[in-house]
Amino acid sequence: MYRSAQDLHATRERLRPVLEQRLQEGRPGPPAQVLVCTGLGCMSAGSQDVLKALKKEIRARGLDVAVTHTGCFGFCRMGPLAVVHPGGIFYTRLNAGHVPQLVRTHLAGGEPVEELLYRGPDGRAVLFMHDVPFFRRQTRVVMADAGLINPEDIEEYIARDGYLALAEALGSLAPEEVIDIVTRSGLRGRGGAGFPTGRKWAFAREAEAHPKYIVCNADEGDPGAFMDRAILEGNPHAVLEGMLIAGYAVGAGEGYIYVRAEYPLAVRRLEIAVRQARQAGLLGKSILGSDFGFDIDLCMGAGAFVCGEETALLRSAMGERGEPRPRPPFPAEAGLWGKPTVINNVETLANVPLILRRGWEWFAGIGTGRSKGTKIFSIAGQINNTGLVEVPMGTSLRTVVCDIGGGVPAGRRLKAVQTGGPSGGCIPAHLIDVPIDYESLAELGTIMGSGGLIVLDETNCMVDIARFYLAFAGEESCGQCTPCRIGVHRMVEILDRITGGRATESDLRELEDLARDIRETALCGLGQTAPNVVLSTLRYFRDEYLTHVRERRCPAGVCKPLLH
């Protein structure tokens, strides 16, 4: 039980030597700890077997080396990953068969196993994790602890100053002061729309109705986005602490995490985190000796993309069909059971404890004019280093895709980067120097979205990609409003004609007209943004559409009916 900030400090001090050992990047000593990534990517590649084999082998040899499993390091392409501390010696693509050699040579013998180290494009082995180019160019703030601590042990989170921001808020800040700090930091919603978080909280605080609720939107539905999954799996307590602080700031006593069913591992880790936080007295009544009480429960999504839209999410969380409703009223005024409700995304909430701990000035000092802090991007598709990348807002797309992401494989040419999932658009290769911030992306006709970047190369057909996203939106339409239910399907039919070699140029005009109409008239964000991907590909790749229509040819060689 933690009854005060002093109790938190005591745990932190007790675990300090263990944690500090993991932070001695580049200063190796006798191997004392091995961290093994158990994020979804590494787990699917077999990291559980590596973990088991390591424990067995170390025990058999009677070595004094601790083995800990952590959340996602972000370099999913190279999994299963493991790091030996002190020093941070970085092993990639491990399997259980490598373990005896790793234990014998490195853990017992003190000599790193060169053939298991990461090798860069130049073929040279890199010894330390922080020297790997993929990590060196990142600013890992929110992701920093995901590959550093055991996500199933609340004490390791506390050892990294966890729950101290909450303690400070409860001990020395008025709720209004907390909101003021978040507002000044410039934090904006990481789920897609980029609404200022502090303002959202202020609305909910000012609302007169009670009780109030905090909802964490963990329904990461954008295909190709997985940063929230990594946070939930790798550092779930950061999200809980963010929710607690939000609850204190707006005067809410209950919180719900709406998490999608496709993430069973995230659900498991959240359940463990909530249970541990309750046992530790960090959820429940009179938290840390204050008169503030707060509890958190999980709500399970059930496979409906539209539930990422906040009004649909609320209905779904109340056990109904996830059908959106028009706004206003906004959830901050009328949310769960008609009461004021703050809905924040996972990454947004994970930023909150950091802002309180390090000060709003620190946060506002990262990023650009109106886009502050860092942003985590998931890069996937035609890219060498698939994984999660955290960089300051305003970093150029080129840095993320070419430098950190390692560019397009097999010498093929970059064609475009799709951002913002089914609500976003495509940025063509010649605009790759755009700084990634909310405004710059909007100018190019796309959105930040939740941070999924899908890299496309010359083997991908832009019309086919547009059709893919639009068909997705059509399938996920809840069916309430006509523009989305019928209009999107009409657009898919036109795209079918184009990719099937049966279209005329008047089809292109109709496609654009429909796109504009749906954007203006659909009920919710899903419908309003569904045509974006068509409008953006028409804007930058009209020639490719025209080749399909006039020459009955698919330049990328994807559309089967057009292959001669």
Partner: protein, 181 residues
């Protein structure tokens, strides 16, 4: 067997019945117990929660995770998230269709395989991805997908040999069979 499932479900309904989003959790549990949400199970939940059957049906059919038809023991899901799509998950799906002789959403006549597509599993770094029941398998070629099916069949043969006739195992009729592990 069935009765025992209902007893477990009763306990679950008692616990989650009054809670927000409880219905979704209850339907998950029912699906886990019975394999799918049959009209009988939906009616049972409706009665227990004192909600109209239309409400239960509305929720059960709104969400992609709920099934109102029985499925095979091995669920083979092909992820059709964007990252998988651009890495040609379609080819994997087509090969599986051919190998199993069914289309997505269908179960093989022997009740063994249920082919389906999934939304993004967030395992984009391993794309294209196939999920066998709960296990995510990455970087799957069409050939590797067929190999997965073969391995399931082999596991099944082993189970068949090990199965003692008297042992009260899962019913052989796929309609009542619980989902795989």
């Amino acid at each position: 067997m069935e009765n025992r499932h209902y007893l477990v479900l009763d306990k679950f309904i008692e616990h989650y019945g009054g809670r927000p989003g409880g219905l979704v959790r209850i339907l998950y549990k029912a699906q886990e117990l019975f394999g799918y949400l049959s009209p009988e199970v939906q009616a049972y939940v409706a009665e227990k929660l004192d909600l109209p059957l239309s409400h239960i049906y509305g929720v059960a059919t709104f969400y992609g995770q709920f099934r109102t038809k029985p499925r095979g023991k091995y669920g083979i899901g092909v992820c059709l998230g964007t990252a998988c799509y651009v890495k040609d998950a379609q080819a994997v799906l087509e090969r599986l269709r051919a190998a199993l002789g069914i289309r997505e959403g269908e179960t093989t006549p022997d009740g063994l395989f249920w082919l389906h597509t999934t939304r993004c599993l967030g395992a984009c770094s391993l794309s294209p991805v196939v999920v066998v029941n709960e296990d995510v398998v990455g970087e799957v070629t069409p050939e590797a997908a067929v190999e997965l099916v073969r391995r399931c069949r082999e596991a099944e043969k082993v189970e068949e040999v090990e199965r003692v006739p008297e042992r009260p195992g899962p019913p052989r009729d796929a309609r009542a069979a619980p989902p795989g592990p």
